[in-house]
């Protein structure tokens, strides 16, 4: 039994670059031997557990280039921004409820104070809180290496449990999405065992409406498949359609069919299917109501 979350035994070189270029230089040089340290809420535990043993740690938490918070035609959130800063920024904007609710649901001061949006994406967990709402915003991830910058749509970003499209020499710079047109609204719901926990199921919804007709619909879920996922058939079933109880029920049914949850220690596959439908109905009702005005 060698599992431990306290003793850190592997030796590593710790770099604190003062510019993004310097950080990217280290990553280019060290490749797979390096790991990017932001808030450390996932990486440090993985290192103590022996699941990762990087020879070089590149601490990007001080880099100003990763700290953008911009609200114009696009909303831009720097990857190095702590949740604690992002939450009031979003709440100030007043309309991105889904993402704000996802961050707020983390709720723990210890995590909010250090964890970053970039880290949450970079960790690649299918149960992460921020990807589903960001997916409903058609968000993109801005990624940079020493040689190029590219923009990856979030829906293509995750490739499997704990796996993302990032190359070893790349870093997440920011996540961005188009500012909402008037009338668009979003919501997020999640289920956990206790308040301080990894999600059992999450669901995010973004909608626009014209009267009782749904004119735009995005639905994304977490912890119900190998990656955070969009429920496309459900979206298609609602978009352009008059919303009534039967439409929502049909949509919930499509979601339950579309997801591929598993049994794990947090809950059963059967529970996840049942709960995903419920979370969708709750998140949809909330977003739909918000879209009214």
């Amino acid at each position: 039994m060698t599992v431990n979350t306290r003793v850190l035994i592997n030796d590593f070189t710790y770099h604190v670059p003062s510019t993004l270029a310097e950080a990217l230089g280290f990553l280019d040089q060290y490749g797979e031997d390096a790991a990017v340290l932001a808030g450390g809420t996932d990486l440090i535990i993985q290192m103590k557990l022996g699941r990762r043993s990087p020879k070089f740690l590149v601490d990007v938490s001080k880099l100003e280039e990763l700290k953008h918070l911009e609200a114009g035609e696009k909303i831009l959130i720097g990857a190095g921004r702590r949740y604690m800063d992002v939450l009031p920024f979003l709440q100030g904007l007043g309309r991105y409820h889904g993402l704000a609710e996802a961050i707020d649901s983390i709720g723990k001061l210890q995590v909010l104070s250090v964890a970053t949006v970039g880290g949450n994406l970079g960790n690649g967990s299918p149960a992460a809180d921020t990807p589903p709402p960001l997916m409903t915003y058609d968000a993109s991830v801005r990624v940079r290496s020493a040689h190029q910058e590219r923009v990856v749509p979030l829906r293509e970003f995750h490739t499997g449990p704990g796996a993302i499209v990032l190359a070893p020499n790349e870093i997440i710079v920011a996540v961005e999405f188009d500012a909402f047109p008037d009338g668009r609204a979003s919501a997020f719901r999640k289920l956990t065992r206790v308040a301080s926990d990894i999600s059992k199921v999450t669901c995010a919804v973004a909608v626009e409406r014209a009267g009782e007709t749904c004119t735009h619909c995005r639905i994304a879920l977490g912890a119900v498949g190998p990656t955070p996922l969009r429920a496309r058939s459900a979206e298609a079933a609602l978009e352009g359609r008059e919303v009534d109880a039967s439409a929502v029920e049909e949509c919930a049914r499509l979601i339950v069919e579309e997801i591929s949850p598993i049994d794990d220690i947090r809950c059963s596959e059967k529970y996840r299917r049942e709960a995903a439908g419920v979370l969708f109905r709750d998140a949809f009702a909330s977003a739909w109501e918000r879209a009214k005005c």
């Binding site: 039994m1 060698t2 599992v3 431990n4 979350t5 306290r6 003793v7 850190l8 035994i9 709720g107 289920l191 065992r193 206790v194 308040a195 301080s196 926990d197 990894i198 220690i265 947090r266 809950c267 059963s268 059967k270 529970y271 049942e274 709960a275 419920v278």
Partner: protein, 794 residues
């Protein structure tokens, strides 16, 4: 004491019953308190333990050469005394089962230590530990108590020691206990209604905040000094003396501040002996601090399978009861025999039964060893019995509260505080008061019937009542040792030192004792200091367990204060020429200093400080006293919990929006801390009902949570009802045998909660859950009729 005298005394209490700031509060909230894991000594080494990856295996060989080349000091089973011991020394030796050694050749659970290393840093020690090569011979393992008793089950032990005698183990049964009163067959014959049900409780981890730690300094004379996470410094010293063959005078165990216990350190923890063995070999101080994962593999609560049968008359009078329990104790028998005795006692003491039978079986499995946890079998027995009371009430169409009031064991009746050998007569009882007063506070009469409840969110209200003992004292010596020692010294400035080997687990036990001493001495609480303590400067105290701190420890402190006061008043009588019996002491309202005076005589007064200083200068001596004292009663501290639940019938999620917690603790020494105990107990009890358990992988023998908090969940403040929605009150009682009328509280806080939650769920959903914890998965399964492990068919 009559009601009048009692009221008079209560009116006169100055310190006891007041809300006071705890003496250790500032250090704790500012992070300056020192725990064993914070301690540093010159030349100190750090230790790590090599633990078994297998649930059952024999060590064929251990090669430590690579670790030693890294500069580590290593110990293997070859380096430790070949002494079989039991880490808990609260029972008398003839009732103590000894089945473990410091490092064994045969491991019986994943996580059992077989070798240990000490090195300059913890990381180096960890690397050295991983460099040790062990050749294992895997043995078949068993993880289920029923399977463990089968003929073809792997044998976990051939024999253990009972006292000093060989005790053969058959079918992995560690011990069996039967206790009967009357003739249960006759009782069931007389019954109009017989109700029989099965219940099950979880294998909960204590989750005390501080993972266990030990720091041992070897001394030049061959002795040792120890700081560790402990609940009994004296029992630890005695056991170390026995294992390492050292005279007790060369072992000094310090009382360290500990970060909670919930019972997990009643025994001398396994890291203590390993740390001592390493330090003796290294000849340097060694510190061993468990990781959270190691700690979780080190101990858990005793789970219980209970089959319960009650026979009642049509009017609700109970005539017979039978409780049979199977307890899966895991890899070591730490205190299963007294546990079974206690379970019989909790059963007997809940409701009057002319005829009773109890049978308890404790079985070894290849899992983490179970030990006492807050309530020691009481939450389990009370969960079953209090669920049963609601079932009987429903069948007989009697209000559940009235059924309880009709049958509870109360004033003038016998209470078994620690199994059949520790009994006393109940002399204070607030059971009916708490039920009658609490019911309207929660809205009992408006709780409705489950069949009338509709909609997605359904609320329900439930009640659970029980008690815990206050210590394990009794008129005659029983299986359990119980006494405390305290020393009280009046200092030359009028302040007072109190010294005791008692521990504080966080609930404020030492604070409470200081208050009791302040009350007795007639000085302000601020002027009473709690002395640091070690085994060389305190008399014996059995252990701070069994909700005995205030009642037993406080009892000895008050006795010592009385004796020191007698010396002080004798000195004073010489100075102011008044017979000592006529003198009183009261704190000066401004300075808090004790003033000795003769009532009605303004010129006959002198401060405590003046007397103590004059006695010193004149060479009369110090007003000091030591008392070793056994309480000859074990009064129950009764408790009642009303709980409201709200169930989301779509997701199976349950929350507790409101609760009422009441305790009959006699005189309440510090109301804020007592309320804190009740709120903490509520939180833990809800966890036991809805959340906490450890499951095992049947192939690897590892916990499915891996010993990690990532997947072992606890409710926190964020999950609890807002403070204003948890109402706390205290029964208006006075325990004649207790210090200033006080009884215990700690374990009682948790004991009835799970039952109340399950009764509330029944009231919300009309579904009776008998296995806990009940998760949202299981609740959805029950609502939809899905097959699900742990949910009985309706």
């Amino acid at each position: 004491m009559g009601r009048e005298a009692r009221e008079m005394e209560a009116r006169e209490l100055r310190t006891v019953g007041a809300v006071t700031r705890r003496k250790d509060g500032l250090a704790k909230v500012t992070g300056t308190e020192t725990y064993a894991s914070d301690m540093e000594l010159p030349y100190m080494l750090h230790a790590r333990v090599l633990r078994s990856p297998y649930p059952h295996a024999r060590v064929v060989s251990i090669d430590t050469s690579a670790a030693e080349r890294m500069g580590a000091i290593c110990i293997t089973p070859d380096d430790v005394p070949d002494i079989r011991y039991n880490e808990r020394q609260v029972s008398v030796p003839v009732k103590t089962y000894r089945d473990r050694t410091v490092l064994p050749w045969v491991v019986r659970q994943v996580g059992e230590g077989v070798a240990a290393v000490a090195a300059r840093t913890e990381a180096l020690a960890e690397r050295a530990m991983r460099a040790i090569k062990v050749e294992w011979e895997e043995l078949p393992a068993v993880f289920d108590a029923h399977k463990a008793m089968a003929d073809d089950a792997p044998q976990i032990y051939e024999n253990v020691l009972l006292g000093d005698a060989e005790f053969p183990i058959e079918h992995n049964v560690a011990c069996f206990r039967q206790v009967s009163v009357g003739d249960v067959a006759v009782g069931f014959e007389e019954a109009d209604l017989i109700v029989e049900r099965e219940y099950q409780t979880g294998r909960v981890y204590h989750a005390q905040m501080e993972p266990k730690a030990a720091l041992c300094r070897p001394l030049a004379d061959g002795g040792i000094e120890l700081w560790a996470t402990l609940q009994s410094i004296h029992n630890t010293r005695q056991l170390l003396g026995r294992i390492f063959d050292l005279p007790l005078s060369r072992i000094r165990v310090h009382r360290s501040t500990i970060g909670g216990a919930f019972g997990s350190s009643i025994q001398m923890n396994t890291p203590v002996a390993i740390c001592v063995a390493l330090a003796l070999k290294a000849r340097k101080p060694v510190k061993l601090v468990l990781t959270r994962e190691e700690d979780m593999y080190d101990h858990c609560k005793y789970p219980a399978e209970i089959s319960l049968k009650y026979g009642v008359k049509r009017d609700g009078t109970i005539v017979a009861g039978e409780l049979k329990t199977l307890v899966d104790i895991g890899a070591h028998n730490i205190q299963a025999y007294p546990l079974l005795g206690c379970m019989s006692g909790w059963f007997v003491s809940l409701y009057r039964m002319p005829h009773m039978n109890f049978e308890g079986t404790a079985v070894y499995t290849n899992k983490t060893p179970a030990c006492a946890m807050q309530g020691y079998g009481n939450p389990d027995v009370s969960f079953a019995v209090e669920s049963h009371m609601d079932i009987i009430a429903e069948k007989l169409d009697i209000d559940p509260i009235e059924l309880r009031i009709k049958n509870y064991v109360g004033l003038g009746e016998e209470f078994w505080g620690q199994g059949p050998t520790v009994r006393s007569i109940i002399r204070s009882c607030g059971v009916e008061e708490m039920l009658r007063k609490g019911a309207p506070m929660i809205g009992w009469d408006e709780r409705g019937r489950p069949e009338d409840k509709t909609g997605r969110y359904r609320r329900g209200i439930g009640v659970g009542r029980t008690f815990h003992t206050s210590g394990t004292g009794a008129a005659m010596p029983g299986e359990v040792i119980d006494y405390s020692t305290a020393m009280v010294t009046v200092n030359e400035d009028g302040s007072v030192d109190m010294s005791t080997a008692l521990m504080c687990h966080g609930g404020g036990t030492l604070d409470a004792c200081a208050k009791l001493v302040a009350e007795e001495m007639g000085v302000s609480f601020d002027l009473v200091g709690v002395s640091p303590a070690s085994t060389t400067d305190t008399g014996y105290d059995v252990c701070t367990h069994a909700t005995r701190g205030v009642y037993c420890g406080g009892g000895s402190a008050v006795k010592a204060a009385k004796s020191a006061k007698a010396v002080l008043l004798d000195f004073a009588s010489r100075l102011i020429e008044v017979n000592p019996e006529a003198l009183q002491i009261a704190p000066d309202p401004v300075t808090g200093e004790g003033v000795i005076f003769l009532e009605g005589a303004a010129d006959k007064r002198i401060t405590v400080g003046e007397v103590a200083k004059t006695a010193q200068l004149k060479g009369w001596g110090t007003a000091i006293a030591v008392e070793s004292h056994r309480m000859v009663n074990c009064p129950p501290c009764f408790v009642t919990n009303f709980v409201e639940v709200e169930v989301d019938t779509w997701t199976g999620e349950v929350r507790v929006p409101r609760a009422v917690c009441a305790v009959d603790a006699g005189t309440v020494v510090n109301p804020d801390l007592a309320a804190g105990q009740l709120e903490g107990g509520l939180c833990r009890g809800i966890g036991q009902a809805l959340l906490e358990d450890t499951a095992y992988d049947p192939v690897t023998g590892e916990m499915t949570c891996g010993g990690m908090y990532i997947d072992y969940k606890l409710y926190t403040a964020e999950d609890m009802a807002p403070v204003d929605d948890v109402k706390v009150f205290f029964a208006d009682t006075y325990e004649p045998s207790g210090p200033f009328g006080a009884k215990g509280i700690g374990e009682a806080a948790n004991n009835a909660v799970a039952a109340a939650v399950m009764n509330a769920l029944q009231n919300a959903l009309g579904i009776r859950f008998q296995f806990i914890p009940i998760t949202p998965d299981m609740i959805l399964a029950a609502i939809h009729g899905w097959a699900c492990e742990g949910v009985l068919p309706a």
